[in-house]
Each structure stands twice: as structure tokens, then as C-alpha cells.
Symmetry: C2
Subunit: 248 residues, 2 copies
């Protein structure tokens, strides 16, 4: 049972936390997308942080190639980074290759330290349940700008995951987790407000991706727990993880 | 006039921000102490992150030696890290050497990038006024655990400095600055609550330093603007800076 919950405001902070499990949150849109791909039919998602590697891995595996540059699918990609597209495309099953910049780095650097999951509002309940079997849990904001800058949408979704975990376990929150709980004390409208007023959301809305933001706000749409099962420099492989849930 | 305000949640984030000026905040207690030392009579404060260097610099300069290990003054030190002691001791003038772990690193790494000031609640008005002449200002939370971990007391004091700067200039806040403004929307009681409920404050209170926390909450006690005038690996020299204030 979880006794301590930490919220890492940036991936760099997570490296200073000795946790039993890590939940990486890249709310708009990578971890929302990963959860959706795995919940809607994909067997696995390979996330990579290099576009050429994404192309070659997808070709080699006959995989669905998803991702974005500046919000839009690069030439030769099957899909962008939209969870709406992901839900439909995932029905074919198999492997998806996802090209992202922020989330991948965090997933890879943490997976070497302990069990690492991908979380977002769409699977907040499932991922907090799965993590509740670990003594110390770190919820990690993936951030923006290659994970170097704080992003309010990740903080908001991370706060909701912290809240579920704290309610379930009575665990003691660290400083940032306590701040997060107070930031969403107003309930679901407060969470939604923080997501919608983030720089990231405003940029996506201006680029025409408003429906993706709405989709990403569908709390608990999925019961999936994407878990890193293998990783290396610049890549991480995720599959739906249910084993750890039994520990909760 | 400031057009953009960023709050760096950790020193590492500040390195990714191209700002015209940086305000480092180590509310409990280093920047409160620096502001107090300079406002109450010291000509300069040399902050260093190595205890032996602190001892040798103080001896060589005939300086007042202040600092802490685990909250208490180490053997041979004249004073601890208490702003209450600092106010009294500063009357002698001259140089103070301050041994700290978190704030020094941030002050040194940023001073090479642009004008860098030390801020806290005790000089929130003065430091925000001085910074208002720069186009982009980054308020930097010094954090704890060698600056790797988020600390709620720094966030609270940083939020108050952001608020002053935003009110004065109408500058656009970045994500963390916006979150900070909403966290202290309740006014002074909200700022105080965030400081007092931080892990850092609770540790200090348990060690008998409750009066230092009260002192550090005396908003605008001083009009001083401590500015880094020289720095190197592991050290930074601060003097009362007034030149930049004229730019505002």
C-alpha cells in the first residue's frame, strides 16, 4: 500500500526520487494517446524520440506510424498524435510506433529505476489503482520543450492521479503533491480549467486541435495501465500491464 | 518594461529560459537571510557551497561567518542561517560569508546569463520593482536537496514576486507563473499557508526555528535588492543593487 506520494514537476526531479513506481504524465497528448492506443486494440506501443528511427521501426515491423512535428503528422506518417484518430486506428491491433519528444525521454530514463506506467486523465483511475501497491509512488510531469519546461496540463492530470492515489491509500503527499491537491480542490472543473488554460492547450486549440483537448478531458474513459516492458536510449516499449494491479 | 514572466519550478528549468533578469528565491532561509544581511548593514555577502571554503574565506577576509548544517551553525561559525540573528549581526558592516547548499548553485549558474538578484518575501516589492525594467523575467525557485527537489516555500514566495511584477507591468505569465498566481489568489493568507505547510517549514519548526519562519513572512520588511556582482564555481558575491532599479 502506498505510504508516500511525490509529484515530480519535471522529469529531472523524478531522477532525485527513490520511488517504487513511476507514473509518467504527458496529458496533451502523448500519454493520452498511448492509453487510447492500448485500450482500443493495439497490442503494444513503441515510443521513440527520433523521427528516422520511428519511420524505420514502423517499416520493419509493419506497424502503424503515429506522431507529430509542430502538432501535425510528418510526411509518410499514418496518423498524427490525436487520441481521436488513435481510437479508430487502434482497432487493427498489432504494434503502433509513436514519435514524441517529451514523454519518451521521461519513460526511458525512469524505466531503468522501477516499474513505469503511462498515465493521463483518460486512465487516471486505472493507473492510480495499479500504482497503489507500491510503497512510494512518483507521478512525473513530462513537461514541454524536451522535458525541460513545466507544463500546466501535465500538472493538472498529475494532480488528479495524486488525488485518487491519496484517497485510496491515505498516503502522505510531498510538497508538490500537496500543492497539486490544493490546486484541484475545486474538483473536476478545477482540473479542466488548469488543462484548458495551459500554454500547450492554447497552442493546440489555435492549431485546430480543440477536439483532442476535449477528448483528453474524458476522465476514466479507459481502464488500461500502459506499462514499460522494455526500453533503451531513445525508445520505450509499452504494453497493457495488469499484473501490478493485483498488488493494490 | 517586463512583457513576460516565467516561474522556474526548479533551478534546472531556469537554464532553459532565456530571460533578461533572474530572481533566485530560497525563502527558508537563504535569500531571506541575504536580503536581511545587506539591508541591516553588511556591505556584501559571499555565498559559497563548500564549508571549508566558507571557513577559509571568512578567516582571510575577517568576515562574519554564517551558515548551517542540518539547520544549526557548524563548529567555528559565528552565526547560523537565521535572519533574526542576521539582522542583529549585520550592524557591524563589512563582509558576511554564508554557507548554503541550494541557493548558491542557482545564483552562480544563472549569473553568467544575465542580471541575477536574490528575492524573498522580505524584499518582494523591491526586487520586483528592480526587475520590472527587463523584458523577460524569470523567478527561480531554488528548491531543496541540492536544488533537485521542488520546495513549496520557494514557490509561495516566488508567486508573490510574480504577482507584484504582473500587477506593475501587465506582463504575460508562463504556465508555472499562471499556476502560482492562482495558488495565491486568496491573498497574503494563501501565501503564508503555502510557506507554513511546506516540508521545509515543518522541519524548521520541529527543530525550534519557528521564529525564523515568522520573520521570513514579514513581507516587504526590506527595500534592498541583492544583486550578484561576481561569481565562480561554487561561490557568488552579492551587494545591494540599486542601479537596475532605475531601468523600471
Amino acid at each position: 500500500m502506498t505510504r508516500r506520494i511525490e509529484l515530480a514537476v519535471l522529469p529531472a526531479e523524478a531522477l532525485a526520487i527513490d520511488a517504487g513506481a513511476y507514473i509518467v504524465v504527458d496529458q496533451l497528448r502523448a500519454t493520452t494517446n498511448i492509453a487510447t492506443l492500448l485500450a482500443a486494440g493495439m497490442d503494444e506501443v513503441l515510443v521513440v524520440d527520433d523521427i528516422e528511427r520511428a519511420r524505420s521501426e514502423a517499416k520493419q515491423r509493419g506497424a502503424l506510424l503515429c506522431g507529430e512535428v509542430g502538432g501535425f503528422p510528418p510526411p509518410g506518417f499514418d496518423r498524427g498524435n490525436s487520441p481521436i484518430e488513435a481510437e479508430e486506428a487502434a482497432r487493427q491491433g498489432g504494434t503502433a510506433v509513436l514519435f514524441t519528444s517529451n514523454g519518451t525521454r521521461a519513460l526511458c530514463s525512469l524505466a531503468g529505476r522501477g516499474p513505469t506506467f503511462a498515465g493521463a486523465l483518460v486512465n487516471a483511475g486505472a493507473v492510480s489503482r495499479a500504482a497503489s501497491g507500491y510503497d512510494t509512488v512518483a507521478v512525473v510531469c513530462a513537461g514541454t520543450g524536451y522535458g525541460l519546461r513545466f507544463s500546466q496540463d501535465d500538472f493538472a492530470a498529475g494532480a488528479e492521479i495524486v488525488r485518487r492515489l491519496a484517497e485510496r491509500t491515505g498516503a502522505e503527499p510531498g510538497d508538490a503533491a500537496r500543492l497539486a491537491l490544493s490546486a484541484i480542490a475545486g474538483g473536476p472543473p478545477a482540473v479542466e480549467h488548469l488543462v484548458r488554460t495551459s500554454s500547450h492547450a492554447r497552442g493546440l486549440a489555435a492549431a485546430g486541435f480543440g477536439p483532442d483537448i476535449d477528448y483528453a478531458l474524458r476522465v476514466d474513459r479507459w481502464q488500461v495501465v500502459p506499462a514499460v516492458v522494455a526500453c533503451g536510449e531513445g525508445w520505450a516499449l509499452l504494453r497493457p500491464g495488469r499484473a501490478h494491479a493485483a498488488a493494490g
